[in-house]
Point group: C2
């Protein structure tokens, strides 16, 4: 199989290196990059997408530039030209999954994006495979390595600012870590996972999201006193005619595998009708793990291992039915008047309430107190899942 | 695709139920069972293997009777007749993997056995898939639910005999639990996993194995004082021109995911060159999880998703190079004379020693003291794997 790689950055360059010896039977014909990349064979580098789209010997395009534009244009053109596409681009996939799958089906080619959630963890591959012969009831897990690194460091006694600075120093967090800290990265991955799990159309913008920017040492200490750890989790569950999906800091007891996910790792779980709980754990980012996940997608296409896509269906978003208890810490105690619950070192552990209700309340409280912190209390057991 | 199921017991019956509605496109044509099974469609039940082998409309045979004889005869005949075979039979596979793969290759059909290790966990599927584009460095994990149930109960304060009786009462352990307690079941799964991971021929009988029959409350309490838990783990690692493979009770720190595997679950890990540590967690046994894993194998065959087999190579077994510390508890202290190490509540934590050396020593000590207990101290971190 012959491929082209669009974008020879960290991940695209990793794919190039993994395929360079030719042992996989997958050969790189073109590399598109606007920079002057050295050490490529003569004639391989181009800055013109037409050189790739117009080459009939290219079977598959690896898109590795990230972001929506111009990636979406390039990918759409490649599919239309009858080329398979493999990408790790979570922004683009979460924005345009349904039309992209339609385009791939129309042109009889495959679109694979395993590395867009979980980095090096074969999560989406296994989710799709399990779905073929089983019914997915729910998915949940740690899908953002940056926030997990910070939460893990805080669980070991570090304060928030030091943990964030550490994560930035080690390259796990961007200088502007807002997208990670506010849960926006996890939200995209939640939307993609829910869409595949339930054959639904899920807009990332519709997924209620709480981040960890406001978490402080006092929270972590309180959780510890109750035998709990805090992790940033995506959650999605299929109802009868609806689905729930949300991203929240979540308190886990020691019997949940996700509670034991260290540093910047990912741990993602599906609960299915026949197989119960299945969890997948590994490196959620990093050059070679992510590149390897892309190479595995390429090999699946090369082997004609078709996971036949089903037509995605629009499903109403319903976070009313999903209830659990929440930890709310705010200096403006009067905002909690009328809410029943337990006193946890001055913070409130609420009675069970709906995801919708909490997220509305959180919005109100944060307008008055930007430092308020919210976390859901996990109802997952280590054994039975959601 | 049309299939026949040999043996309509717990697992075979589960496969039948999962396929009964026909939605998967996989249709059961024959069921072979010596018992008078009721409620099957007319003409489906047979007690004669020739009815299956001789039916040209049967594409694939599911073998679910277990044990070596007559399963091996039936499977060999099916492969020779040009039929794919799917099985969960770990005794047969660990005994005859290499010749069976040769037979499948000769006749241009597939042999799949994902459910033979890990029950409902898609372990072997992911191991084979990862291996296509990556190099497997080591595999390890919890592959026996019975012993994990007992060890988990003991970690929560139960004594050995009560935990064993509980496991038997709940159907997790046979009345004669010797095969589980002595690690013989885990040994077969270790041999199968190592053979696939390293393209090697591995005889289960060559895998040094220590079980948990001798473990007592005092051991568990001592481990707890050192912040450790004890799990029965299979381990296999590829050297330059050799491999190591063994089954042992293993002490794990809290940073290892396997330490947090509750009740009768499995947690199995591979460490690869490109992807680092990848772990797979779920139900290691049970009717529908195991049956679903078989159905997934069937769907992979149906989709022509060929994981091309490589020719297995004989590799010498070498457990000399693998060194770690061991916990040894024996009432016959004089047997430990000359061994350096730490005193752990009267037991000895040795200096690092080779797997070969310990297993030889263990054999000697157990001849003098059948109640002696041995456990390796894990060197796995939660982060970097072996």
């Amino acid at each position: 199989m012959n491929i082209a790689i669009i974008g020879l950055g960290v991940v695209g360059g990793g794919v190039y290196e993994l395929l360079r010896d030719g042992k996989t039977g997958i050969h790189v014909r073109h590399v598109l990059d606007l920079r002057a990349i050295k050490n490529l064979p003569d004639g391989m580098l181009t800055d013109n997408i037409a050189d790739i789209i117009g080459d009939p010997t290219v079977d598959c395009v690896v898109e590795a530039i990230g972001g929506v534009h111009p990636a979406l244009t390039f990918v759409t053109a490649a599919l239309r030209a009858g080329k398979h596409v493999v990408t790790s681009n979570k922004e683009m996939i979460s924005r345009a999954l349904a039309p992209l799958l339609e385009g791939a089906a129309l042109h009889g080619v495959q679109l694979r994006f395993s590395a867009s959630v979980g980095g090096g963890v074969p999560w989406l591959h296994n989710l799709l495979r399990q779905k073929r012969g089983d019914t997915i009831l729910s998915v949940y897990g740690i899908v953002n390595g940056t926030t997990n690194y910070i939460l893990d460091a805080m669980a070991h006694g570090m304060d928030f600012n030091t943990a964030l600075a550490d994560a930035q120093r080690m390259g796990y967090a961007e200088t502007d870590a807002t997208s990670d800290l506010d849960g926006l990265d996890a939200r995209r991955k939640c939307a993609i996972s829910a869409a595949l799990a339930f054959d639904a159309i899920v807009e990332a913008d519709d997924v209620p999201t709480l981040g960890i920017a406001a978490i402080r040492k006092v929270d972590i200490e309180t959780f510890r006193q109750h035998g709990l750890v805090c992790k940033l989790l995506m959650h999605a569950e299929r109802g009868t005619d609806s689905l729930s999906a949300y991203v929240e800091p979540t308190l886990l007891g020691p019997d949940n595998l996700a509670a034991h996910t260290p540093t910047n790792h990912n741990c993602i779980t599906l609960c299915s009708q026949h197989s119960g709980t299945l969890s997948f754990y590994g490196q959620g980012a990093g050059r070679f793990p992510t590149a390897e996940n892309i190479v595995q997608d390429l090999m699946d296409i090369d082997a004609m291992a078709v996971n036949k896509g089903r037509t995605p269906m629009p499903l109403p978003m319903d976070n009313e039915a999903e209830h659990h208890r929440y930890y709310i810490r705010t200096a403006r105690k009067e905002l909690l008047d009328g809410l029943a619950g337990e006193n946890w070192n001055g913070a409130l552990l609420t009675e069970p309430m709906s995801v919708s209700a909490l997220h509305s309340l959180a919005k109100e409280i944060r307008e008055m107190d930007p430092d308020a912190f919210f976390a859901g209390l996990a109802e997952y057991g280590g054994e039975t899942g959601a």
